[in-house]
């Protein structure tokens, strides 16, 4: 059986927040003062008054519940939705440059990961991957020793619905 690419402490939250300066800092400070490292964060304005923040981070279950309650009571936060990285994150964007690649590698990556690839000079390969977190993790694991540089977007799109209120 294949090892899970996502660890059980990985968390995924979507927050609907007030759209005003400083809200990101207020949210991030809740994590920072408790020594919790945010792995990825993406933000988008929903309408004039509210924005959506998607966060991924690692935290044991016994501490996770408290963080959710603390976020819920913050006046900046209008709604907290708890998601699963396994099932609710539909796409993340991952862009990387790999070293020591040839056209075979390029074909392999295109077919296996459905990524866009571009061969650069000196055997370097630009990979543009739009995939679920498991596939992104699989890719990172497979090419860990060949990644020269990369950027991971965080949650690009998720399956958690928004309440009507």
């Amino acid at each position: 059986m294949k090892k899970l690419a996502i660890d059980e402490n990985q968390r995924f939250l979507v927050l609907r927040v007030l759209n005003m300066p400083g809200v990101m800092e207020r949210i991030c400070s809740i994590f920072a003062r408790r020594g919790i490292n945010i792995d990825t964060i993406t933000v988008g304005v929903l309408n004039g008054n509210s924005s959506e923040i998607s966060l991924t981070f690692s935290l044991p279950q016994e501490k996770f519940g408290n963080i959710v309650k603390i976020l819920e009571k913050n006046p900046c936060v209008l709604e907290v939705k708890i998601g699963s990285l396994e099932s609710d994150v539909i796409r993340e964007a991952f862009v990387a440059i790999l070293k020591g690649c040839d056209s075979k590698d390029s074909d392999h990556i295109r077919i296996k990961y459905r990524a866009k690839t571009t061969l650069l000079s000196e055997s370097r390969l630009l990979v543009e991957l739009l995939a679920d977190p498991r596939m992104v993790n699989d890719f990172k694991e497979e090419f860990a020793d060949r990644i020269v540089s990369f950027s991971r977007s965080g949650v690009m799109i998720h399956a958690l619905g928004r309440s009507e209120s």
Binding site: L18, M20, P21, G22, E25, R26, S29, R33, N49, G65, N66, K69, I70, E72, K73, N74, P75, C76
Partner: protein, 557 residues
Amino acid sequence: MVSGSKLVVDKLRENGVKTMFGIPGGAVLPLFDDLHKASDMEFILARHEQGATHMADGYARATGRAGVVIVTSGPGATNLATGVANAYLDSSPVISIAGQVATPLIGYDGFQEANIFSMMIGLTKMNFLPRNLNELNSAIDNAFKIALSGRPGPVHIDIPRDVQLMEGEPKNNTYTYSYRLPSPSDEKITLASKMLANAERPVIVSGGGVIISGASRELVALAELLNAPVVTTLMGKGSMPEDHPLALGCVGMHGRVGAIRVVQESDLLLAVGMRFSDRTTGKLSGFAPKAKKIHVDIDRSEIGKLLQPDLGITGDAKEVLSRIHATILKLLQKGKAGKWGERLQQIRRESEFLYDYDAVPAKPSTVVKILNDYVRPEDFVTTEVGQCQMYASLHFTAKRPRQFISSGGLGTMGFGLPAAIGVKAAFRDRHVFDIAGDGSFFMTCNQLPVAVDYNLPIIVVVLNNYFLGMVRQWQELFYDKRYMAVDLKGKADIARVSEGFGAKAFKTMRISELKEALQTAVKQGETTVVDVIVEREDNVFPMIPPAATLDEVMVGR
């Protein structure tokens, strides 16, 4: 058309603000110009912004209404930090307003500019930096709602100078904060009631949330119905009148032995409006080890934060206690559940204090004991922090909620004196006493002229041992008496300093003279400092050593 600064004044008035504290400065001058026109509002000029915030905090704690402090940008606002943090830790509804440099200048390190917005994020329930009249309108409206709703707390508003000067008609608020009071299910109330009714040795731990909620009457009723002793946290002191037969005083690091005993012997603990602070519980795993625990708090994030209760109830203390009382009444045919019986009386007797009225210099515990005779039920007592605070907690008998006002969470030395001024500003016909130590006194004694200038006579009783007493006590007990940086020498004369500030002053080391001084202070109605020289190396006992359980209570050296 209205200017930003006029809008602020109008909104403060709309929210019932009559008294404010603070210090003006360049970035907030437009606002002060409009305050000048507000003859129906009083502005009390403090001598330092930290003290001004404690005044607003004291005002808020005594009244239950929001306390307002207004200062300028930069150092004015950074000086707020301690006071605002103090209010945050003790859930006090303080609205702090600071001027800020004009919006085009923010971030350019101009004169008296500091990043107050970021500084305040970790110290407040919410903070705002309005950039136009709409946002200003919204910020003030929401600030009061946020500060006062649910679990109260401070809200800060930075108002740039150009926003104060903007003119226009504010439109609808950019957002409206809404808060829904949580109401627990009938199932939870019934379960809690059954657990309490079936307990043999139930104990109620009452915290500051009971006072904020106004639930004292419900607390007393439930305690009497259950025949359950009530112990309090420091913040909950006074939630149960301490002369009530079921009141056993504060529990915790310097709690009363009786309070500690009943908690450790209880089989069911009902903790209401408290947060299991380390100062209350000692080593948490040893806190009430035989008891099932029911935790009631309005703040959902407090339940299970440190201690996983057997039953957690999110709700307002007044409603929850009242519903539990009603449910238990139906469950019990003829009153009473708890079977403490004679054991409770025995515990009470064992935890009585003995007082030495003849010692010279006076014993600090006796000074506080004597003070009880001069504090009427309607009066107030504030405290500083350290040994003086713990002597006050142990030996002052609080008769009602909000009578005892102290810095619990942050433990801010210098809180009591300015807080007393804030209390006095709200209740001019009551006596307000501050129980101080000499270390704390010197931290904010610069606010004494405020009491004198505004005819807000407070009475400060200094337990003067020429030491930072609590630190010295720890160094004595846990660092083999290696005293480091705790000796205050005593060359500064508190009585003369106080007279220099315009206050009346007495200096004594005898209980008999203390009585005369207090009698005079109460009678004359002038700001008075009574400098009581106390035994230098007296220790506050009982004491739970750090990281120890309540069972390891020390009752003497």
